[in-house]
């Protein structure tokens, strides 16, 4: 049985959190599609997990410390070659503060 579609508000809220600008059509499509997938993934709730620790990685991991050695940095041209916009040695970004802020 298909779960009830998500509300327009719920999908729009998640889109805002996800930093995705969605059209009205996309929001409508996701209401049903996401509800269907969530219905399926909710099966994890049917499994008894009392006393089971969450496992984020397949193996226990710990910090691996490296020697604090000075190495040449990546050349500036390499760092900037993929920037959508540059000004001289700098990454150009849209103005976020108005004059006088």
């Amino acid at each position: 049985m298909q779960r009830e579609p998500l509300s327009v508000e719920a999908v729009a809220h998640v889109a805002r959190l996800a930093r995705l600008e969605l059209s009205k059509e996309r929001i409508d499509a996701y209401r049903t599609q996401l509800a269907g997938v969530l219905e399926h993934v909710a099966k994890v709730n049917a499994i008894a997990v009392d006393g089971v620790e969450p496992m984020a990685y397949p193996f226990e991991t710990s910090n691996r410390l490296a020697e604090d050695e000075i190495a040449p940095p990546m050349p500036l041209d390499d760092l900037l070659m993929n920037a959508p916009a540059t000004e001289g040695r700098f990454l150009a970004v849209p103005r976020v503060l108005a004059e006088g802020d």
């Binding site: 889109a15 995705l20 600008e21 709730n45 997990v49 990685y57 193996f59």
Partner: protein
Amino acid sequence: MIDFAPPSADAPDATSIRDAIRSRSTSAEAIVAAHLRRIESANPVLNAYHEVFREEALERARQIDERLEHGGDPGLLAGVPVAIKDNIATRLGRTTCSSKMLEHYRSPFDATVVERLHAAGAIVIGKTNLDEFAMGSSTEHCAWGPVRNPWDPERVPGGSSGGSAAAVTADLAAIALGSDTGGSIRQPAALCGCVGVKPTYGRVSRFGLVAFGSSLDQIGPFTRSVRDAALVLTAITGIDPRDSTSADHPAEDFTRGLDEPPAKLRIGLPSAYMSDANDPEVNRVITDAIERFRSAGAEIVPVDLPLTDIGVSTYYVIAPAEACSNLARFDGIRYGHRAAMRPGDELIDLYARSRAEGFGDEVQRRIMLGTYVLSSGYYDAYYNRALRVRRLIKREFDEAFARCDVIIGPTSPTPAFRVGERSDPLSMYLCDVYTVNANIAGICGMSMPAGFAERNGRPLPVGLQLQAPAFEEHRMLRVARLFEVLREAVSA
């Protein structure tokens, strides 16, 4: 119907190519040139590559030949043409992840695996198509159009490493690298009919792999034979200081002792794997494979993996959660697609529009899903819960492997399906039912050709999956080699 000759069984594997180049019975340049000619004729149909490094590959081949001429050691994979999935960084060409978001992205460095292949004398011949950011099971979700299956171009090659699988199968590369987050090497290897290995988590450095699900992703090879898979793994495994999750485990020569099958072989067969929901021809081919092992003296041990089905649900919580976090870096500021700013826009509007314009449909769907399961009020019900089920799935494998050496079963419940056939996301996600659990548990797994199903008079490959405990690649490959010998004996 698209007219296309089926793949040739006579195409030499990478080991033979390497040996022929070393013995000077051919040259690296001639090998690369022959691959380039085949790419030219087949790629317009298959769309396996989206970028080919013609001049650079020929130049590098000439360098290998020259080194050989002067008596130098050209390396383990000398002169072997290799294709790289385009979510693995190469200084040469672009690294696009088959996404408009990274259409013009050029990596300032090579991934560790690419450095290691170079050091072994391999020749990177091009970058292969994939489902955008490795999200998919069909390689239909690419910014540059779908990849086609070499056995029937009306069908998908599987995904997300479909370009790499198709390239090796159609002899457009001797070996290829892919990445496997939930089955993205094994499932396309099965649907195309080549060998595909997902190594143990941490066994191969992920440095330079564009992250999708960081706790699940693993780079691995596509090859034409089991010995080639052993050869490539020998070249690329080992600890990497640049990847803090790479395992501190000694490198091995996986080719050594490959032809010696493990003594008293116990093969685990989970009842859940031979489901009635599988295509009947898939079950027939896998049953036949099991019988061959039995005739060769292996003991078939029934094992229980009752959480098999729940793996897909667990995976589709964990993977999108990690994906939405990993893809947060694509905001149009430092690199990638940036939308035009409109009057009155806030910075957040610029991020949101850049991401909506740059990411394709499936990627956005998974970002939405991941954001939902991590959002306030749902984190415990979905994400935290899935991580606990993950531990149970790992325990289940541990218990099964206490009773057997390897676990066997189908790689995919069906042979290759038609392009456009599965438009519902959920039906696509269920393609991964037999592969996701190896990623969840971090163990190694592989797919190899087991036989054929038939559709409309055309043969379609069926893949046999072998899974082994973490860091037991050598054991898994020896069992795979045994099966290869058993199959060759029948067809001889």
